[in-house]
Structure formats: C-alpha cells, structure tokens
C-alpha cells in the first residue's frame, strides 16, 4: 500500500497555535496527493465544518479528530469511527470545557476512558521514558486495538534513536505505531507567521521568545514520498496512517438536526397536539367561523409541517409566547414567520391570512430543507423574565443564548474598537449586539449528541 494520510493537522481554529486555514491545508494536501487529512485542533472541533466543505471541494478525505492535552500532561489524538463515537467526543469536550471555564479544557484519563467507545486514540509521546510507557500501557488496556502510538520526527539530536525506542516500547505494549507529522502550517514559509503567533500567545517580543517558539519548526505538510523517505526504517508506520483513516468512517454528512421532544405532551404526538392547538386557536381568531381560505392554508401548512417533522418546534415557540402573553409581556413575531397562517392562529404573528395572501413557502419549504426560525421580539424591559422562564422550563444545560458577531469593515467610522466598546459591558451578556436589543430569536437547533 502506498500513500499517506496526515493525521495530526492543527488549523488556525486552534487559536494562536495553528497558522494555516483549512482551505489552504486541503488544497496543499490535494496538490501533494495525500489520501486524507486528520484535522486535530486542540480541544476543539471548530475547524471540521470548514474542513468538511474543503474536503468536498478538493477530494481529499477528512478524518474528524481532536487533540486533547490531559491534566497529567499526556497528549492524545482522538478520532471517532462512527456517528455515536462523534457524539461521545462532543460530550467529552463539553465536559472538559464546562469544568475548566473559558478557553481551557480540563480532562483526565478517566473521562476519556468513559467516553472512549468507538474512538481511535493515538498517544503523542514526548520522550520514550517511563511516563510514556505507563500511559501507553494504560491506553492499550483501555482501547485495545483502537490504540496507537504516534511516531513523529522532531529534528533533534538522537531523533532516530528516540523513534526506535518508541517503536520498541509500542511493540512491548502490543500497540501499533503510526507515522504522523504534527502539521502546524501548510507551507514552509508560514514558519515566520507561526513564530509571530506564538509571541502573541505568550505576550512577548520575538527577541524574548527564546525556547517558547516552536523549536521543532519543520511542521509543514509533506508529500507521501517524503514521509516514506523520512520513515524509511518504519514503513509499516507510514502505511498505518491509511489504515486509521480507513477505520474512521464518520463524516459530518451523517449529522442531521434532531429536535428534542416538547415537554408536557403525554400520549399524543407533537403533530396531534399542534393540530388541536391550531383549530382551537383558529376558532378564537375567527369567532364567526373560519374562512375557507384560512382553512385551506392551515391544512396546507400542517401537511408540510408533518412531512418535515417541524411540529415540536412550533410547540416550543407557542409555549414561550403563551407564557409571555399570560404575564402581559408584549411580544410579536416578525420576519418570514409572518407568512404562516399557523403562526397567526397560534398567536405568534399578527398578519391575518384572510386579508392578505401569504407565501408560506418563504417560511418553510420542502425544497430548501432548512429548519425554520421564528423571530419573536419581546418587550425589552421584561425580556429577562422570558429568558428566566426558558431556563426554568427547559433547564440551563438545554438553553443557550446566541450572539451574532458581525464583521465590520475597517472603515474609520465603524472601527472594531468602537464597535467593541459599543457592544462591550452592557450588551456583552449574550444578546444579539448588532440588532435591536429587544429581540430574542429562537432557532430550531437540535441536540447534536
């Protein structure tokens, strides 16, 4: 078997560590004829969406992965083999990040083992010392044939000896080795930028940086032939990168939106509840009898909602609006949702379908296959009551606030500094700082894991 898959690639989604974008890495990989790229950002899967797109464009396969630095100093690369393992990896990251607070990740061996089913784990050792041997034995015990040991050249004294000892260690622990390259940038020229980024991270100047710079600076993507040449003594380790890439079948394409079940609906499906609410609501809206035009619109919309499975989402928005109305909090749906007769009879929007011709397809359509979103503005002084009710009802782990970060052009009138100041202390609590501060958007986002 010839060829090579580079399994440890750090993109600039590892903030201030990687310097190349996913697109640059993938196009370089395509140029070099690499079979696959394993994107392993530090404690993050943030880069894989772009990587998924780039993989589709360039034809180089994406191996989804993540690099973890555990609390005891061990470095692990984890690759989910299937959809369920990907879910476990996400949960593992959520756990570590929730524990450590902003910007950090605090995980231990036990956590990795608890979530480790279906994950391929590659230990990235430093020196072939007792610590590494202990970690490797533990990895072999917990992960069996899904454990690997990474061999990477560092261009230091005794490099060949180090790899030799590491591969002996792996043989003793019955763990297979894999040649990886620990890529930080796609092109050797990026080494300068890498040093600059390191200085920004460490808060020092380039003259003071000293050994905080990447001392093993040879971290660009390599052609398969070069890897074969560099690892001439360990051809099986080079070939094994393809084996791992082959075992990792998970693709982002396997992900779909999974909307959670709406609470308080025993014994009936969400669609049934929604239909009941709609006809009740319609009777209230039109006390003198529902016009035929509206009945037809409602039937049409209900059919589409059932077909696409969006009923629980309408129930959620309805529950929030009902709560706000019960407390006398002013609220009003806006945007494309106003094209829906269903939203009108549920009391979410205020455009009467009898008097105007609504274009429901602007809101939900079979062709777009995009989950709908309903924007509702709440009275800004009492918005907090609604937010707290959402937390109490759905739980803090299941509710999130979204902030949109708008990219501004660097014109003097709207300099980023000005913008940050404007949206700084008061608005920084997670509302949408770039739109009206009184609006709260609920989007149909599901639980990914």
């Amino acid at each position: 078997m010839t060829g090579h898959a580079e399994l440890q690639v750090t993109t600039h989604f590892s903030f201030l560590r990687g310097t190349s974008s996913v697109e640059e890495l993938f196009s370089q990989a395509a140029l070099f004829g690499l079979a696959a790229l394993g994107i392993t950002d530090r404690h993050s899967l943030a880069g894989i969406v772009r990587a998924h797109e780039a993989a589709k464009v360039t034809g180089v396969r994406l191996v989804v992965g993540c690099r973890l630095d555990l609390a005891d100093g061990a470095a692990l690369l984890l690759y989910p083999t299937d959809r369920a393992a990907y879910g476990r990896l996400c949960r593992l990251l959520t756990l570590g990040k929730a524990r450590a607070g902003k910007g950090a990740c605090d995980l231990e061996w036990r956590d990795v083992v608890d979530h480790g089913e279906g994950l391929i784990a590659v230990l990235v050792p430093d020196r072939p010392d007792a610590d590494s041997a202990t970690r490797l034995r533990r990895l072999a015990r917990e992960f069996g044939d899904r454990a690997y040991l990474a061999l990477s050249l560092r261009r230091r004294p005794h490099d060949q000896l180090r790899i030799h000892e590491l591969s002996n260690m792996a043989a003793a622990a019955r763990v297979a080795t894999v040649a990886i390259n620990d890529v930080l940038f796609h092109n050797p020229e990026r080494r300068l930028l890498q040093d600059v980024v390191t200085c920004i991270r460490e808060g020092c100047t380039i003259d003071e940086a000293g050994f905080r710079r990447e001392r093993h600076a040879d971290r660009h993507l390599r052609q398969p032939e070069e890897m074969v040449r560099l690892f001439a003594r360990w051809p099986e380790a080079v070939a094994r990168s393809l084996e791992i890439a082959g075992r990792c079948c998970f693709s982002l394409g396997a992900l779909a939106c999974q909307y959670p079940d709406e609470v308080g609906a025993p014994g009936a499906t969400a669609q049934q509840i929604l239909e009941k609410l709609i006809w009740e609501g319609a009777a209230l809206r039109y006390p003198e009898g529902i016009p035929d035009k509206v009945v037809a619109a409602l039937r049409h919309e209900l059919r589409l909602i059932e077909e696409l499975g969006y009923a629980p989402y309408f129930l959620t928005v309805h529950a929030i609006v009902r709560f706000a109305r019960s407390r006398g909090i002013l609220c009003q749906g806006r945007g494309s949702a106003a094209n829906s007769a269903v939203c009108f009879v549920l009391g979410i929007t205020a455009i009467d379908p009898e008097q105007s011709d609504l274009l429901f397809e602007r809101f939900v359509s079979r062709e777009r296959r995009e989950p709908p979103d309903i924007d509702v503005d709440f009275e800004h002084e009492r918005r907090e009551e609604v937010i707290q009710w959402i937390y109490d009802t759905y739980g803090r782990e299941r509710a999130a606030r979204c902030a949109t970060s708008a990219r501004r052009s660097a014109s003097p009138r709207t300099s980023p500094g000005l913008w940050l100041r404007r949206s700084g202390p008061g608005a920084g609590r997670g509302s949408k700082p770039n739109t009206r501060p009184s609006s709260t958007s609920t989007s149909m986002t599901g639980d990914c894991a």
Partner: protein, 359 residues
C-alpha cells in the same frame, strides 16, 4: 567633541550637526564659522564685540591680540587660546555635594604612598557606615603641585565597607600614578554607593558560603572591567548565539538549555569549512577532510535542524542548518553541519562545516 574643553563647549552648543566631532588639532577650523557666544565669554562682552561687527569666532581670531586686550581685557584672547588648545586648561573634577568623600592635604609634596591610601580608606568607612551604604565604585584623586589631577578608579562587585579591602583595591593600582613634582592633596570618594545591610552571622560561627567577591574585585581591578565574566546560556537555537557573558556575581540565569541534547565542549568560532562527501538529503557525510586530515565516519547522529533567526536579518529568513554528531575511526567526535536542508537551494549552499569538537 573636541580635544579642548573650550572647543567642545562651542561645538556642542552651536555646531549645525547634532553630533559634531573636531579631529585633534583641527579645533580652529571647526570653530571658525561658529558665533562668538560659543567662546564662554560673559554676555556683556559678547554684546560689545558684536556691536563692533564681530559675528563669528573666525572674525575675532583674525584681529591682532594687543588691540583686543586693550579694549576688552584678557578674556577674549584667553578663551580663544583655550579653545584652540594653545593655553592649558586643567579640568576641575565635578563633585556632587552629597558625595561621600574624604580628603587630606599634605604640608610638603609627597610621592604616592600606600600608607596615606589606607588612612583615607579608614576615614571613608565610618562615613559609609553612618548612612548604611557600601562602596561600589571608588575614585581616588591625586592633586599634584603643578595643578594636574591624576585618578584611580576601582569598582567592586558587591557593596563593600571594609577599609582593608577598599585600600587593597586602590593600592594595587598605585603604580599607575605619576607623582610628577609631588602630590599636595589626595581625595577619596565613593562615587557609587549602594545600601549594605549588615547580615546576621551564622550562630555556630561557621562561615556560610564562601564569599568570593573580594577575589573577584581584586581580579577585575587588575585585569579590567570586561575581562572577568561568567558564561550564561541564552535561549537560541543557533549555537554561536546560545551563550552570553554576564558579570561574575550576577544572580544565576534562569534559562536552561534543554537536557539530553549533547553539545560539543569546544565550539569553533567561526565554523571551519570542511570537504565532505555525503548522501543528500538525510545522511551524514561518509568522510570529511578538516585541516588536512581525512577522517572516515563510523557513527553519526542527526540531523538536528536549526533554522535561522529570521527577525535578525534577511539572510536568515530561509537559512537552515542540519547538524550531525559524527564519530571517526579513532573515536573522535565532531559536530558538523551542512548549510541548507538538502532540498531547497534557498536554505543554504550545501557546504559542510565543522562547528565543534567533543571532548
């Protein structure tokens, strides 16, 4: 800057260049275009001269001295001669008033003598003691009968208040003083002093860590300030930049070189080119010729790749060196490097150098 005080004064204040330097003996030419105000005459005198049409120093230097002295007294002629170096002008050392200083004058001119230096040092130490200070730098001035001043300067690595030690530092240098026709006064000043807090002694009376500062002071004062140093590591991948020198008693440097990285005991500066035959790009040479001796390589380790420090110069942006530790048939070990990574011609010209020798 000039070779006389008067010329330097004028150049510093009135020369058009920000840093004017007059070569020795060229003061006259350099001062010629400068205004009269540069001559250190009083303002009234300058004013009167200007009214008579003298604008520059050259104008004044051109008129006969006798008539000048008749009208303005001796000052203009004297200042001109001082500026042009025709008249000696001894420099009076400037002493700040708070300087800790002792002085003794002699009834008869004497030669420089150790006894008097010791006496001065003994007189200085109580003054230092009273202020809780120790001397870091001493200036001993000898005022000769002919008005010249000669000086000895001695520095210490740590603040010192011990009269014997201070005296010894000065006495070591006494032979550099030329007494001329005799010395009529001597002054000793601690021109740099730092707080010296008395330390509690060991309760058992034993000496703690032995204090080598006295030895260092004696050596530094005899050899010169930069001759005595300690080597300290620097965080640089380039071997020639990975060492610096620090003063002997500086606190230990926190920087450490990485462990487990063998480095030669002797680094050649600069690296010496060798003729070598090697397989590109990953292999050490099979043999190399250095200083006329051909050596066949038995064992080797490498490459250790060292990149240029790109922020220092453009030439280093792409420069790469691949270092190899090699052992020849006699068991001698060398540190060779190839300039260039063996693949990209921009990274180096592929020539081989020996950079160090292992003991």
């Amino acid at each position: 800057m000039a070779d006389t005080r008067g010329a330097a004064h004028a150049l510093a204040r009135f020369a058009p260049e920000p840093a004017a330097i007059a070569a020795p003996g060229r003061a006259e030419a350099a001062l010629a275009p400068l205004p009269l105000a540069g001559l250190r005459l009083d303002a009234d005198c300058v004013d009167r001269l200007r009214r008579l049409g003298f604008a520059t120093i050259a104008d004044l230097a051109a008129v006969p001295r006798a008539s000048l002295a008749l009208r303005f007294g001796p000052a203009p002629g004297c200042r001109l001669d001082q500026a042009f170096g025709r008249l000696a002008e001894p420099l009076q050392p400037y002493c700040p008033p708070e300087l800790i200083r002792v002085r003794c004058a002699f009834a008869e001119p004497i030669a420089a003598s150790e006894r008097h230096v010791e006496k001065l040092a003994e007189a200085l130490c109580p003054l230092l003691d009273r202020r809780g200070l120790g001397a870091r730098r001493l200036d001993l001035l000898f005022h000769r009968v002919d008005g010249m001043v000669q000086a000895i300067r001695a520095g210490t690595a740590k603040p010192v208040r011990d009269a014997n030690r201070l005296a010894r530092l000065l006495v070591d240098r006494l032979e550099t003083i030329d007494p001329g026709f005799g010395i009529e006064a001597m002054a000793l000043a601690a021109s740099l002093a730092e707080p010296l807090v008395p330390r509690q002694g060991d309760i058992l009376g034993g000496e703690g860590a032995s204090d080598v500062s006295a030895l260092i002071d004696a050596l530094v004062n005899r050899l010169g300030p930069r001759r005595l140093y300690r080597a300290a590591p620097v965080e640089s991948d380039l071997p020639e930049r990975s060492v610096t020198t620090v003063p002997p008693l500086d606190p230990p440097v926190r920087v450490r070189w990485p462990e487990h990285w063998p480095r030669p005991s002797r680094l050649l500066s600069p690296p010496e080119p060798v003729d070598a035959v090697a397989l590109l790009p990953d292999h050490p040479p099979a043999h190399f010729t250095w200083r006329g001796v051909r050596r066949r390589i038995k064992r080797a380790d490498g490459p250790e790749r060292v990149f240029g420090e790109w922020w220092r110069s453009d030439a280093e942006i792409r420069a790469v060196r691949d270092y190899f530790i090699v052992e020849d048939e006699n068991g001698e070990r060398f540190w060779l490097f190839r300039s260039g990574d063996g693949e990209d011609p921009a990274s180096g010209d592929l020539r081989w150098y020996v950079h160090g020798v292992f003991a």
